[in-house]
Structures are given as C-alpha cells and as structure tokens.
C-alpha cells in the first residue's frame, strides 16, 4: 500500500511539472506585458527595461518557467498584481471562500445522489423513476451558468415580485452575520449541487441496477435478510465503487474553484480570481491557482484509487 502511494506520487511528479510548465509557457505566449510601454519608447526606456527585467523578457519563453519553479519550491509563489497581495495569501483567503461553497455542495450532492439512485433502482420504471430520470437529463443538458442565471432571476426578482420576500441573496453580503452568509451561499451551493447530482444519480442508478439484479443479492434475499440490510449493506457497498471516482474528481474540481458558478454569483472564490488573473494576465496568480488545482486533482485521484481498494477487496493496489 505504502509502496503503491509512493510510486504513484513519484510517477505523477513529472506530469505535474510538465503541466505547470505548459501553463506557464501558454499564458506567457498569449500576452505582451510590454504592449503599452512599447508605444512610448524611447521616452520611457527606464520603465521598459524594468518590465523586461521583471518578467525576464530577455530570456526565451521556454526558460522563464524555471525561475518561477525555483522560487516556488522555496515556498515563494510570487505576488498577484491583480489582487494586490501575495499569491499564498490570495490562495488561502479565496480558497477558504471556495470551500464554503464546495464542501456543503459536495456533501449534499453525494447524499442526494445515493438516495436518488437507490430509489430509482428499487422502483425502476415507476413514475417517480421517470420523473427523476427526466430531471437528471434536464440537469445534464443545462449549462451551469444558465442554471445559475435562472436561479438568480427566479429568487432575486420574480420570487420577490410575487411574494414580497427575498429569502436568498444573489451575491455575497460582506459582514459577520452567519445568517447573511447562509442566505448568500444558498443559491450558489444549490447550483453546484443540482449540476453534480444530475450526473452522479444517472451513473449511480445504472450502477445500483446492475448490482441489484446480480446473483449475490438474490442469495441475500433468499436467505431471508431484511430488504433494508440487502439494499443498504450488501447492494450499496458495491454500487458505490464506481461513484467514488466520480466524487473524488468532482470534489477536486469544486475545491479548485468553480469558475462559472462563482462568477455568476460574484462569489469571491478562486474561480473569479482565476478569470481575473487570466484576462490581465497575472502570471504568478495563474500559476498559483494552477498548482493548487492540480495538486488537489492529483491527491483526490489517488484517494479515489485507495478507496477503491478499501471498498472492493478484490482490487489490490501494488
């Protein structure tokens, strides 16, 4: 097990650096920090030289990432020009905000996905199953930003118009009140939850159906176990295995900052910071967020594979 983890980590490192390298080269190739100063040459030669020095523009584009790597391994992730703060501070602060949405959304969607797939599989082809399948198709077809916009208009404008109440805010209210935080976070959490439940429950239903119709479940029923034990202990455990990977990757994506949902609801998380950094472009911040998102993705991939082994003793990791 330990050797497996160590080997996995070691094999991931080159890919990790290759990915970061490409991000650095890609972002710097699309930008020209000198665009403005070039116009006023030779008057502002000093400023021009300073920028060349700062962004190492005299070096080849393929060499520039290494300087950044050199600082990064020593724990210096640079300074974000866009947000006017050190990248490590931005990551902590924004990452915290993102987690406020990501953690509840993940827990809620995992719980809902399990409940819905158990229901759909036990009552296959019932009216409820058809309704749920219909909704998950709709959820899959709906672009996230469109759903977010819809929720915003529905709760922000129409609902208030009809009832005079405004239960949820459509963007973050900055104060210390927990109630306000809850009111602000509900709609983005709802958006994230619905979108992932739609995908997970389709998958979970198929997986649960396959298990419920298998021989060992028939055996479990035949020997007189209660339906509750059969479904929740015997069937669910196997049906969850394929879902675990989906969850791990989904949670990693959520933690990395849901660019769209956070942008729609103007949530000060990693997503909007990332977009701001890309459009500026603020190379240090882009790299900082990339390194964070990539690490989270790798770690959760590994967690998924380890959980596989725990849930299914037939799978051996070595």
């Amino acid at each position: 097990m330990l050797t497996y983890v160590v080997r996995r980590v070691l094999t991931t490192i080159p890919i990790f650096f290759a990915a970061l390298f490409l991000v650095h080269v890609g972002v710097s190739s699309t930008t020209d920090p000198l665009a403005n100063s070039r116009l006023c040459l030779p008057r502002c030669q000093a400023g021009y030289d300073m920028l060349v020095e700062k962004y190492e523009l005299d070096k080849s584009i393929w060499q520039r990432p290494f300087t950044w790597f050199g600082h990064a391994v020593r724990g210096d992730f640079g300074f974000s020009e866009v947000l006017g703060a050190p990248v490590s501070k931005v990551l902590l602060e924004r990452g915290g905000n993102t987690a406020i949405l990501a953690v509840p959304a993940f827990l809620l969607s995992a719980l809902l996905a399990v409940l819905l797939s158990v229901y759909s599989a036990r009552k296959q082809y019932s009216r409820g199953d058809y309704v749920l399948t219909g909704f998950s198709f709709l959820g899959l077809a709906m672009p996230t930003f469109f759903f977010g916009l819809f929720l915003q208009v529905f709760f922000g404008v129409w609902f208030q118009h009809w009832t005079g109440l405004k239960p949820f805010y459509t963007s973050l209210k900055r104060d210390d009140s927990w109630l306000h935080l809850l009111q602000s976070a509900t709609l983005p959490i709802l958006t994230l939850t619905i979108v992932s439940v739609a995908a997970d429950s389709r998958f979970g239903r198929a997986s649960m159906l396959e298990v419920v119709n298998s021989d060992y479940i028939r055996t479990a029923r035949a020997k007189g176990l209660s339906e509750r034990t059969v479904i929740w202990k015997h069937a669910l455990r196997n049906a969850l295995i394929p879902l675990v990977t989906l969850w791990a990757l989904g949670f990693a994506a959520l933690l990395g900052g849901s660019v769209i949902t956070e942008t729609v609801f103007s949530w000060p998380g990693l997503g909007p910071a990332f977009i701001a950094a890309l459009s500026k472009p603020d190379l240090d911040l882009v790299m900082g967020i990339s390194i964070f998102a990539a690490t989270v993705a790798i770690v959760f991939n590994l967690v998924a594979d380890i959980l596989y082994g725990v849930l299914d003793p037939r799978i051996r990791l070595d």
Partner: protein, 294 residues
C-alpha cells in the same frame, strides 16, 4: 472458458447486426424524439433567417428593445436588431462549431488512440501522458489561454475545444485496439501480410464504431455547452457573429426586464443537448454488440 451458445432469436431467421441495430433504434422512443428534435432545430436554424425580412445586423433604433411581435417574433435587442434572425443564425453558428469540434476531436482521438493502442511502448506512453497532462491542467486554463488568442472566430473556438475534448475518444479507441490486436483475426490479417495501417483501419476500427458514435453525439452536446460557457465568460466567438452563447452573454444584463431574451437562446442550448443525449442513449442501446434484443 466455455462460451455460452445463444439461441438465434426469432423464428429461425437470422438477422444482420445492422438490421437488429436499426430495429432497436427505431423502437427507442426517446432516441427518435431526439433525432426529430435535432432535425427540426437544424431546419429552423438554417431556413429561419431566410423566412424573416430582417437582416441579422440591421439596426433599427426606433424599434429597440421591442417585445415579441409578428414582425419580430423574439423581439429586438438594445439597438433594434431582430432577435429571431439573430437567434436562428446564432444557432447555425453554434451547430457549426459543435459539428466541427466533434469531427476534429474524433479524428484526433481516433488517430492518437489507435497509434497508442497498436504500437504500445513509447507511443503509448507519450499519448497516455499527454492525456494525463490534459486531465491535470484545469481545462479552463487551456480554454482561456487559447480562446484568448485564437478563439475570436467560430473555427478558432472549435479547434480550441477539440484540443481539449479528444481525450475520451482516444482512451476508448486505445482500449479497444489493445484488446483486439492480439486476437486471431488480426493475427491472421498480419500473417497474410497486411500493413499496420490496413489492419487498424479495416479489421480493428470497425469494432469501435459503435462506442465512438455514441461519444460523438455526446461531444456535440458538450461542445455547444462549452461554446456558450466560454461566451458567457467573454472568451467565446466575438460579435458581430452571433452564437447562442454570445446572445445570452449580451442580454444577461437585461435579464430582470426582458428575461425572454436570455431564456430563448438558453432554451435552444438546453433543447439541443437534450436531443443529442437522447440520441446518444438510443445509439448506445442499438449498437450494443452483446445485445440480441430486437
């Protein structure tokens, strides 16, 4: 392992796989619905602009922000351009982007997947690691970096999306090629002197046709959603060319007063993806080689 011999279904007549598949497809009601919806939509998008007397970029300040009327079925935008024509044309561009993405991603994925699966060793390592890198880099970086630079035109966006979306098909093709390349019929073809390209194209790839076809339909949906999402973030196809995505983007500020202007193009995106997913579901059932159900 012993093979179970399945009795031939029906009344002694055996039917070809293609006919079975067709029979299964036509009995899949949702898939037919999806196909019909898609055909209707394509017809509407491609004939719609010709049916209206308005031009997609004709400005009519007097009639700006008009609600739906006979002359302007979807109303007009803030400088009085007819939204019906713009939405239809936008749909046209969005579908073109999606089809191009599906084509490019399938071609790239099939070629790279087949190379990796057939030659194994170094080729496989390179392709697999390339896929891994694409999985690690947040897709938004790839999209944003390249969309910033090449994405202003529909073709540019399609190329950018295809460079991101080929990995699933590559993995499917790679798996199937690896699975089949040691089987007797492939060894037989090799024994009579067929070249690798011929073996892959004629003997192995027909086996992935089904699963790739399903993936292609799903790709069409993904491409349309991503196109509109990129537009929403301001990274998509730039005006004056309308797409469903940038139509939503342009009117989202006015969503409180004129929700219809946002909801209509959004509805077409959702409807398109729904149809494509239904179609994909039907194809998956119909092309399942293990199924003998008619």
């Amino acid at each position: 392992m012993t093979e179970l011999i399945e009795p031939v279904s029906g009344h002694g007549e055996s039917r070809s796989f293609a006919r079975l598949a067709l029979a299964r497809f036509t009995s899949h009601r949702l898939a037919l619905l999806g196909a019909a919806g898609l055909i209707l939509m394509v017809l509407a998008f491609f004939t719609g602009p010709a049916l209206s007397s308005h031009d997609f970029d004709a400005v009519d300040i007097v009639n700006r922000l008009a609600g739906p009327s006979l002359s302007h079925p979807f109303g007009t935008d803030e400088i009085g351009r007819d939204l019906f024509v713009r939405t239809m044309l936008g749909g046209q561009y969005s579908i073109r982007v999606a089809v191009l993405v599906a084509f490019l991603a399938t071609a790239l994925g099939t070629v790279l997947g087949a190379l990796a699966g057939f030659f194994g060793r170094a080729t496989d390592v390179v392709v697999s690691q390339l896929i891994n890198v694409l999985l690690i880099v947040p897709s938004f970086i790839v999209l944003a970096v390249f969309a910033n630079r090449y994405g202003a035109s529909p073709t540019g966006i399609a190329v950018v999306l295809a460079t991101l979306l080929w990995t699933r098909i590559a993995r499917i093709v790679r798996g199937v090629v690896m699975q089949y390349k040691e089987q007797e019929f492939v060894l037989a073809a090799r024994a009579v002197g067929a070249r690798p390209a011929r073996i892959v194209a004629r003997h192995i790839l027909p086996n992935v046709l089904g699963s790739v076809l399903v993936e292609v339909t799903l790709l069409l949906g993904t491409a349309i959603v991503l196109e509109s999402t990129l537009s929403f973030l301001g990274l998509g196809v730039r005006p004056p060319i309308p797409t469903l995505g940038n139509l939503i983007q342009q009117s989202k500020g006015a969503i409180d007063d004129a929700p219809l202007r946002v909801l209509l193009p959004g509805f077409f995106v959702v409807f398109f993806v729904l149809c494509v997913n239904f179609l994909g579901d039907g194809l998956r059932d119909a092309l399942d080689p293990k199924s003998r159900r008619a």
